[in-house]
Symmetry: D2
């Protein structure tokens, strides 16, 4: 990456004025605590890169090695001083308002995480403690708003989809927006951006000033998937598990667009939770959709679910091809059921307390050979446990194929051994193969797809 | 046009609640006064057709012959009852908010025009009386807002441009919106829509809730160029001259995108006014712009101005090719000059009182053979008078080529005789020829272009 | 009155920015039209005197002979320049916001009256024309707001009541405010101020930001009864008849506190309208109230109504002594009936179209000997006509006793001859006598009360 | 106290919607944790008693023994269920909005205190830890608003002053409000209410919607000094020391009205802090004021300060008698100095970080005989230390005279022995004597004033 245009600037929060204590300002200063400063600097750089079209974290960090951010206490609140910041975040020398807001959101969440996470108050070993922590972080970010109807629609899918698929996500966003629904995504480009853009135009047509475009991210991914500037609420969760939990507790329904291995893994995470017996009666609209050209992809995903988790699993979602209005109509109807249910059970509209998430979904899965060997992918398991394990297997296989650490493990110890039924492993194989063919999963060096596991029955 | 989906509905104004007197309600009822009712019905139908992609007034009127609108006095204000209304104006049975707003804007302006136009208060024979009338109509529509900085950018250009040009207008709108500028157009599709759409996204990024998308239209054109749903302020002026005056008194700068004969005529109208000696010191930023592919078009227009009105005329505008950011930057700078000038002269930011508009620009030009013969297109005339006459000649030639009435006049009486210098008429000829070649002016039956005039020196 | 503290200042409207045309600015300038300028100067002076405790129009005008107001067109709207203005309208050199608002309200109404009153649009000879005019003036002042529930309570009564009565009006205002009701008065001191003050505190307790304190006044009285600074909507009607019509069409209920002859006359005006047969089914809550010490006064008024207009007349109001909460509760209940009625009849909440006002109430009564002689106060008349005549007789008698012009007429021609029944004239006599004894009607020079009329049976 | 009118009701927060976690709801339920529930019940009862004129905590608690409050999680947020609540908090069955708001403020602060106070995050043993805690509690209550100018004026003084003094506080509040200043008090009746009431009227005149009436209280005093309903921001600090620190860190200037021993103690607390050498350059406007009739009282207080802390101490405040406008003008000027200073030093407008408060002022003083004997009231001490000790002596003497625990200590062990110079003790004696004579300090049983201490030189 060539030498970048940079700019020095001072920014103060407008609108969302942040008030910090002396100690918090101190923590964030470079001298205060190296780690917090580094974390904030990295998130800030990602946010400032919003306007640009680079999408590799390392590239960005390298391109702006001289970037520095300093925090100052001032009469009217805090002020950030930016040195050698990406010029694209500014218009005629003034920072774009959404970027400024996101900088202060990052500040807020990083301070909160730092000060509260080690806190006596939260028992992060227990499932309810983790949920409580997610709740508090979201509340501190003012994401939980009592009094609002259920209308937050989560959109999942790939961040590097093709133009036709991208346009389709805009149309779906537009159809959702016309129905006054809000959008929540992982806050990067692609599927993370299209629905928000469509909804923005639709909300303008509906004269809705308070439309919400909620982006949930994490420090590890924000640089690679810089929040798009439509996002008007940004929350940085400390890790992927808490971020996923935030999605399913804050969202009232989920739309899954085409995507790669990550999207499929999220889909299995969701099915694993929804199929838990305690969640049986809990309504949670899930729609898989894409343009005509993505029909084959969606059908294969559907077939995979049917083949592995059983026909019942297919009842947890609908597939709608090339019909944005129908997607929005079905979602709106599904949300009415969510509303009725929460009202009857006295559950909050703003946080899905009643959703049971087993702690196996709240802790990260480390795909070592030992952990992979412990998985048992049997048709005879209860479907929600199978889904959980399948998600883990999937996670491991993806790692073994494309992630640094996974590839090195495979090189050293040979393929993973997975104890599983052939009726399960074979569809998985086919699905991954298809991802590669459709350029949805990039193998290192463009190599041919070779399974990194073998089945032990 | 096939049988349309229709819907019956009741709508009340929200937000912009309109309060009518008994007499006004009576006037608008079908029984009250046929002509006002018909006018309102026609505008309402055009507005309700916003969502659809038809663009011929007659087609729409024919397609919804059974459409009726009734007005009722209610406890909380007036209510409209719509029968057999186009279904596209509704989402799941509820009218889109912007459409609802525009319906009530039409109501407001038609009632105002009806009650005040015949009024003693306005002397519509005098130039200042017409200006006063335009002022009052705009004020009644709450378009004139004291206290706002000069930032209303008028965008002129064709309503049926190609995709590349349309995308370019969105980009320019986005660049203007990032600079927190507002957009005013003729409120139909094409150039009337693109800049508003781009600005909407940019205003969302800048967290501007009050972005203005002002549409100025007239009853005669609203059906053919239905207001796009981004428009959040709609004003219906009674005729084209008052509408043009509204553009130049309310707008603080003008961007001209590629368009057909109408656009060129507007450009000449603007030059004719700006070149008036009394307007010499008055800053008024004008930018001609388009994508790379439109460069030839813009250069030809520029050459035509140079050849006919002289080099000095070319100093009233800039041409910027394929650089949306530069367009926006130049416009923003130009607006600063406008602001300084109005402040020094104590002229209102919200209405350009100091702009001199001769009454020749305030009254319609009727292109009869007699009127055409009276024009004298001489290089020796003062440039602003030549511009005025050129605009009239242009108007007549366009009529003679493509308008029903003009074509019939030519058939009956032969070509117009225009007294003009050859150095003026020849470039005009070439310009019109180019419009035809670029499909910017459609000749009846696709005929070859034949001049409908001859020069008498 | 001693030499006053004066100040020179410039004020621009904030919040309610007024936008004027060149012609309007011209009309208001001293050079433009002497009469409008004088009218505005006089109203402006009264408004600026809001803070002071003078209550004689002439005194004020004399005390600020050098006061001048100039109007300037500026970049951001109009600006007023004040010379030798009363210093009390300013706090540390800055004009109090409510005063500034009222200045611009006066500007608005005077311009409207000037430009529209002579208008073809309004037929001021007809009853419906006058009503239409009142509607338009109120609408132009943005007083008519569609969508609001009926909750505007008019408070009538004396402007120079005693401390106990004043405190009582504050308590009633507080009780009304706690029920989220709005207040409308004649906008001066005494009963015109107390209820607004009480309601302000109560609205603050109820966290209502939009509480309305509507003051209706007229140029002839504004100087003597300067609007109190709580008023947040000021409307200047051109004369007393239009002002009274505005009260009964905009107010949803009326509370009558103790007052002098003027208050009694208003009460008769109201009864005359409510007793009209066409208004028989129309709900209109009217409550007479005061502290314990005012009980005798209210009872005498009540007895007078019973004796003259008959027992039925007493059914149009209630009397509540020393119970602010009960007053507010009864009023709130009465307003519910108003709401139901308007909903059923499709009448607007914001303007009482269905109230029949005969044109005898819309034109002023001139108390000459001839006009007084034409009155026939007969028990045998229909009660609403008797009420109308009684109001006129009352008006004449008050004039004959205390008004300059009336006193001189009596001196020249002897007492009025009134053709009336003794059962009517005697209670009238007693009522007037009581007003004098209670210091509610000041006779010139403190003279003993001598009837200025004689009854001819 | 007789049997009270009670009411059962359900209330939800409006506007300030509170979002609680499952754990927080659980803590507050009666079953959850007795102590939190009791604390909240007691505060809620005090708040509900706002409207009534009782002012003894015990009386209230006894009068509403059956009062219960239950908290429920609901779809739109939490809901409170009240059983046997004081009827005066309701208007026609609906809770007054300010009362509802305060209930939820109490909820918020009690939950925060409970969860965070025992927290690792705060080192309550250190001075900076206590300050940090106060900051966090205020921030959580949204009291610290970046971006606002310094304009929070603290008003201290007695809660049971006479009518003349009460009216005077209203006038001062009005004069402050006209200058757009905000009011902060201890949130009960008397001086805690008058300035807020006056400011409410003045803010209405200035069309200020966002006027702040901040009440700082503590659980131990809220029942005796129920927040007046004008308070629109209520914060409950856990104890008197944190409450006093909140006053001086959030307030930008302080006005001291007549009051009893408590007021004098607060005055000494303030002087002790302001006289600290590190605060020498820090501007902090302090004004003592009262009506003409309170002049003697204020002069005596002034004389006492001069006699004990030296002439220099008198430089830290001004005395203004019977001139509300002058008080407001001086305060407004003082605030400008505060603004300049904070800007120069980069201190926050919303929190007075630079004010040095020694930890002796942050911990309670327990007036045992041993602690009293340790005090050394010497003219030779540095004035700020003498002020600190004097405040402690004062606190002990007041306790020995009027507080249960103090009186019993004196009965058991005889008078306190205070080591002090006679030039200090004698004025103290006289001041206390005067308080008794002016009915500002009530002795048990109306006994004559007998010093409860003796001086040991």
């Amino acid at each position: 990456m060539a030498k970048q245009n940079v700019i020095n600037a001072q920014v103060s929060p407008k609108g969302s004025l942040e008030v910090l204590s002396h100690r918090e300002v101190q923590q964030l200063s470079e001298a205060g605590s190296g780690s917090i400063y580094q974390l904030f600097r990295q998130c800030a750089l990602a946010i400032l890169n919003t306007g640009a079209h680079v999408d590799n974290a390392k590239t960005i960090l390298d391109a702006y090695k001289d970037f520095e951010v300093r925090i100052h206490q001032q009469d009217r609140g805090v002020r950030l001083e930016l040195l050698n910041a990406p010029a694209d975040a500014f218009v005629d020398g003034e920072m774009i308002a959404s970027t400024r807001e996101m900088l202060f959101s990052a500040l807020r969440d990083i301070i909160y995480t730092e000060n509260e996470l080690g806190d006596l108050q939260f028992d992060l070993a227990s499932s309810s403690g983790i949920t409580d922590y997610v709740f508090h972080l979201l509340r501190n970010a003012r994401t939980l708003r009592a009094g609002l109807e259920p209308k937050m629609v989560v959109c999942w899918g790939g961040h590097s989809i093709n133009t036709e698929e991208y346009k389709y996500t805009k149309k779906v966003g537009h159809a959702l927006g016309l129905r006054k629904l809000d959008i929540c995504t992982g806050c990067g480009p692609g599927v993370m951006k299209g629905p928000m853009k469509g909804a923005t135009i639709a909300h303008a047509k509906q004269r809705m000033n308070g439309g919400r475009y909620l982006g949930l991210t994490e420090p590890g991914i924000i640089a690679a998937e810089a929040p798009n500037p439509i996002v008007n609420e940004l929350v940085i969760l400390p890790d992927i598990e808490k971020r996923l939990e935030a999605f399913v507790r804050v969202g009232h329904g989920i739309i899954i667009f085409p995507g790669g291995a990550g999207t499929a893994e999220e889909f299995l995470y969701l099915l694993g939770i929804l199929m838990h017996p305690e969640n049986r009666e809990l309504p949670f609209p899930v729609i898989l959709t894409g343009p005509r050209s993505a029909a084959a992809y969606l059908e294969q995903l559907d077939a995979f679910v049917g083949a592995t988790l059983g026909e019942a699993a297919r009842g947890y979602y609908r597939i709608i091809i090339a019909d944005p209005d129908e997607v929005a109509r079905q979602m709106a109807e599904g949300l009415l059921a969510v509303k009725r249910f929460r009202r009857e059970r006295n559950d909050a509209f703003h946080f899905n307390w009643l959703l049971k998430i087993e702690d196996s979904f709240q802790h990260p899965f480390d795909p070592t050979h030992a952990n992979m060997a412990k998985l048992a992918l049997r048709k005879s398991s209860p479907p929600h446990q199978l889904a959980a394990n399948l998600r883990r297997a999937f996670s491991g296989i993806v790692a073994g194929n494309v992630k640094d650490k996974g590839i090195r493990l495979i090189e050293r110890h040979g393929p993973y051994e997975i104890h599983g039924d052939r009726e399960i492993m074979q569809p998985l194989d086919q699905l991954l193969q298809a991802f590669v063919e459709q350029h949805r999963m990039k193998l290192p060096g463009g190599a041919a797809y070779v399974p990194c596991y073998r089945v032990v029955s």
